[in-house]
Symmetry: C2
Subunit: 420 residues, 2 copies
Amino acid sequence: MPRKNAFYAQSGGVTAVINASACGVIETARKNRSSIGRVYAGRNGIIGALREDLIDTSKESTSAIRGLASTPAGAFGSCRFKLKGLEENRAEYERLIEVFQAHNIGYFFYNGGGDSADTCLKVSQLSESMGYPLQAIHIPKTIDNDLPLTDCCPGFGSVAKYVAISTREAAMDVASMCETSTKVFILEVMGRHAGWIAAAAGLAAEEEGDAPHIILFPEIAFNRTRFLARVEQTVKRQGYCVIVASEGTQYEDGTFLTESGLKDAFGHSQLGGLAPNLAQMVKDELGYKYHWAVADYLQRSARHIASLTDVKQAYDLGEAAVEMALQGKNAIMPCIVRGTGKRYRWTIGEAPLKEVANREKKMPRGYITRDGFGITDDARKYLAPLITGESYPEYRNGLPRYVKLKNVAVPRKLDTDFEV
Amino acid sequence: MPRKNAFYAQSGGVTAVINASACGVIETARKNRSSIGRVYAGRNGIIGALREDLIDTSKESTSAIRGLASTPAGAFGSCRFKLKGLEENRAEYERLIEVFQAHNIGYFFYNGGGDSADTCLKVSQLSESMGYPLQAIHIPKTIDNDLPLTDCCPGFGSVAKYVAISTREAAMDVASMCETSTKVFILEVMGRHAGWIAAAAGLAAEEEGDAPHIILFPEIAFNRTRFLARVEQTVKRQGYCVIVASEGTQYEDGTFLTESGLKDAFGHSQLGGLAPNLAQMVKDELGYKYHWAVADYLQRSARHIASLTDVKQAYDLGEAAVEMALQGKNAIMPCIVRGTGKRYRWTIGEAPLKEVANREKKMPRGYITRDGFGITDDARKYLAPLITGESYPEYRNGLPRYVKLKNVAVPRKLDTDFEV
């Protein structure tokens, strides 16, 4: 059997450690040259496969590939592009197989969240029904931590660490100034559907009274009166109040707090943002001086303070994906399995893609305190190990040395274009 | 002559390294016990002196004081409280002297920006005119980098490093997703009067085309048409556009872009914020998908990624302040003097407070490119050394171990209260 090449693509929102998974895939494939030919990466994710725009990773040096382990974002480009169902758009899937066939690709490694797990499964099913031999392995990635069957998702631990540290640091700033200045500080974090990221801010608090004093989760309906009462009570008790709010915070009727309801002179809706809206509410009702921050992309790209645990898991899942492929496995996802002992230990297991696709892991209600404003000890036990360890990148002239790949294109073999 | 005690206070907005200056003051005083008795700190800054609310730093362990060198924010509390002129409110100054006298304080170390330099000078003048022997030394601190006579200000190097790193990281995120997602990213940074902090983001760019593509400075009048044209041109050329905007960005007529001009249903002004306003402008006129971040306090409290150069300078200035006091000096500020060679070297000099107080150091026009959207090589040469070196705090359980002092109060000696 002639050696097959591998295809690797990054999907959806990038993270501080998705390139560490890429590094695991490529380094492990390079160790197994007798079985795997070249690793081709999709330029801008799966779109690269549809367009037959492949990147030849064999053109990159050993040190450049090593550098991926400490480089944030998507080194080959990622995309927000969801393949439709097989029934609706079979052409897309057939095009993938056509491109894979043209480039002798026998391994499909897809690095993403729930949608890409679903795509990976469909590609596997279609290749089987078309009689094209392809092993499709999904590598989990998402800052949202919402994939099922894996104890956690690479990308989450690092954003969790960033948010916990930033909350602690900003809270110290507020605490030291609150006598004469800002009394309320609001940090808006990501998490439209689940409060995992906001929950991680809770790790910053170690003693009674420590910030954050209020966490707002998408899972808990926002109640303006209760919120304001808690802010006031906290300022009276602690002298200041630090709030960490998930961008998905919403009223009971499902209206997001990001929607300000304001219009500008041209009748355009004002985009507002959750943090400024909460700040306005606090100002109007309680009159406290406030400040707010919106971390946005800073939180998911902050490789400079990535969790060592997260980096290791991201790498090892990439490595495991290749090893599983070499063992002949298909339509699976390597996943993190947490040990049962008191000390945190993890191993890599495997989950069938059928059980991964289209299932979201919600945060258990038992992770949120009864009053809805904080995290419980169970949440703390789950979250704490994920942020442990620091994995610092190298620096040059005071700035992290992140790698920039050459991303050399693989010569095209097909003469057909494909519009995406 | 009996040993005199020292008084130390933190003033104005805190930074990632102001406690490193406190550490320098206290450790150096402890090494000179034969000359300096105890170091008392003002609780919440100068207010602590007015209220006779002093903290006895001798109650803190050697390791707690050492820990200050890697702890952000103000360990004793700071305040935004500007003493009025001597003519308007002589009572405040007399109260300070009264408290100093009651606690046998002969050294006054005031750690802050331009206003506190002015206060420090006035206290020195009044004590002299009242015949009370007091050596007043000002220790520079401000993220704004706007103090004269010192090459740079402690606090600035670390915020500069944070902003440069965050810009680089977030830009990599945007670059890897721009094919199908966000095309314009806006990071709002501090700097109401001067663009030093925004300028530092420019260090993230090393090659032609690197982000940030547009920097908005308070020094350059904002022109909507030129701005939008540059955004469009950049997206067409690079595929995406990263903008770093100083919060002080303003139109030619002095209107800040933070003022959205919108009102809510109750007629309250909408607070808006610069970044969301710019985003709205981009969306309305160019239709690009955007994201924005507001770093706010995160940038000035980010001790986890402080500049080693900044930390050293902050410490050494604290140390120098005590040494200068021991040499009998008064009404001065130790400052950073840059060497002339090609390699960055710095020493500590001294500046008379008379020449420091009430003078702001603006960013030279020659540091901003002619088009007003970037920094020049001269700016780069000035800024680059200030962010070099990493000074990581210790970690425990994945979070920085920042010290929390006991802050034991000094028993009061006066029976008069003073309202502030």
